[in-house]
């Protein structure tokens, strides 16, 4: 296949002009005096009632918790999509490099500590379930690479449960506060820190298992 649409200069010119128009329109909207509403003041005003001190965590898990709930659902859906395409195939039949083995020996015990710290720090500083989950997923991916010799053999059922734990706990909390008289995901201020931490812990585990499961590229090969 030769260069992309090399024989169609007119179409390429039209595409270029259309893209310039899109970029100009976006830039115009961005530069408009009221183009980008700033919600910093609104978040700061109600930060006290959110249960956490970090505004980003407050937005993620309290003010706009709906977004995060749906994001966990998207993660679970992506994992279901990848796993439904077939079983994971061992693509690398190489012996794990001694560098990887040594690295994991040093870093292995540190990963859970870093995760716990990031999760706890997320309440008041930059950090939170996503960062902690990404670190945990990294450790899982390194261990999968280490075990690639025989192909990844992982417990499938616990992985499935862990992958939907985040969205499950999120929904359960949202419905429980509804039963207690509030709106959906409208935490009572006294309990909000506990509830947010519970959701974040489940979300971290789900994110880690989902990212690692996506890396496998298919269902784990534990069942015959």
């Amino acid at each position: 296949m030769s260069g992309p649409s090399a024989q169609r200069p007119v179409l390429r010119a039209v595409l270029g002009l259309a893209l310039l128009a899109v970029a100009a329109g976006l830039a115009n909207a961005l530069m408009a005096p009221s183009g980008f509403p700033n919600l910093t003041a609104a978040v700061d005003a109600s930060l006290e009632s959110s249960g956490v001190g970090n505004p980003v965590t407050a937005v993620l898990l309290n003010f706009r918790a709906y977004d995060t709930l749906l994001e966990m659902a998207v993660l679970a859906a992506a994992l279901a999509g990848v796993w439904s395409l077939g079983r994971a195939t061992p693509t690398l039949a190489l012996r794990p490099s001694p560098v990887l083995v040594g690295l994991l020996r040093v870093l292995g015990p540190l990963f859970p500590i870093i995760c716990g710290y990031l999760l706890w720090a997320g309440a008041s500083q930059p950090g939170g379930a996503f960062q902690a989950g990404a670190v945990l997923a990294t450790s899982a991916v390194l261990y999968v690479l280490l075990a690639r010799e025989a192909g990844p053999r992982l417990p499938e059922l616990p992985m499935r449960v862990a992958a939907v734990a985040g969205v499950g706990v999120f929904l359960a909390v949202g419905l429980a506060v509804m039963a207690a008289g509030g709106g959906f995901l409208e935490y009572p201020p006294a309990l909000s820190k506990t509830l947010i931490l519970a959701i974040e812990t489940a979300a971290m585990i789900s994110i880690a298992v989902t990212l690692a499961g996506l890396f496998l590229g298919g269902r784990p090969r534990s069942e015959p």
Binding site: M1, S2, P4, S5, Q7, R12, L15, G16, L19, L20, V22, A23, L26, A27, L30, M31, G35, F36, N38, L39, T40, A41, V43, P55, V56, A58, V59, L60, F63, R64, D67, T68, E71, V74, L75, A78, L79, G81, V82, L85, G86, G128, F130, I207, T210, L211, L214, F215, G217, G218
Partner: protein
């Protein structure tokens, strides 16, 4: 011009570059890369546009964290589909693109 605005304008440029690659490149791996470039552009627009004289707005930051995770999982699903298509057909591009390229080669 503030630094944030510069990031946002750069994000717009990345978004446009991503669209052009998405349209012009027939290889599916390149299309997935193009989608990722577009997503990075959107993240830059959100974070850059949200930082102004009042400080950095936490709402677009939270949206970008959500967006990054969604983008990663969508990329993984896309890559798994491309692998499947490549294994079943032997090509990592869509049949329409291949047919058009063949027709153009014949016309020359």
């Amino acid at each position: 011009m503030s630094g944030g605005l510069l990031f946002a304008l750069g994000g717009i440029a990345l978004f446009a570059i991503g669209i052009s690659a998405l349209v012009l490149r027939p290889h599916l791996l390149r299309k997935i890369l193009a989608l990722n470039v577009m997503a990075s552009g959107v993240f830059l627009i959100l974070v850059g546009g949200g930082s102004g004289v009042q400080g950095v707005d936490p709402v677009p930051q939270a949206m970008v964290i959500t967006g990054i995770v969604v983008s990663v999982s969508a990329t993984a699903l896309g890559l798994a589909l491309v692998l499947r298509i490549a294994r079943m057909t032997g090509h990592a591009s869509l049949p329409e693109d291949r047919n058009r390229a063949a027709a153009e080669a014949k016309a020359e």
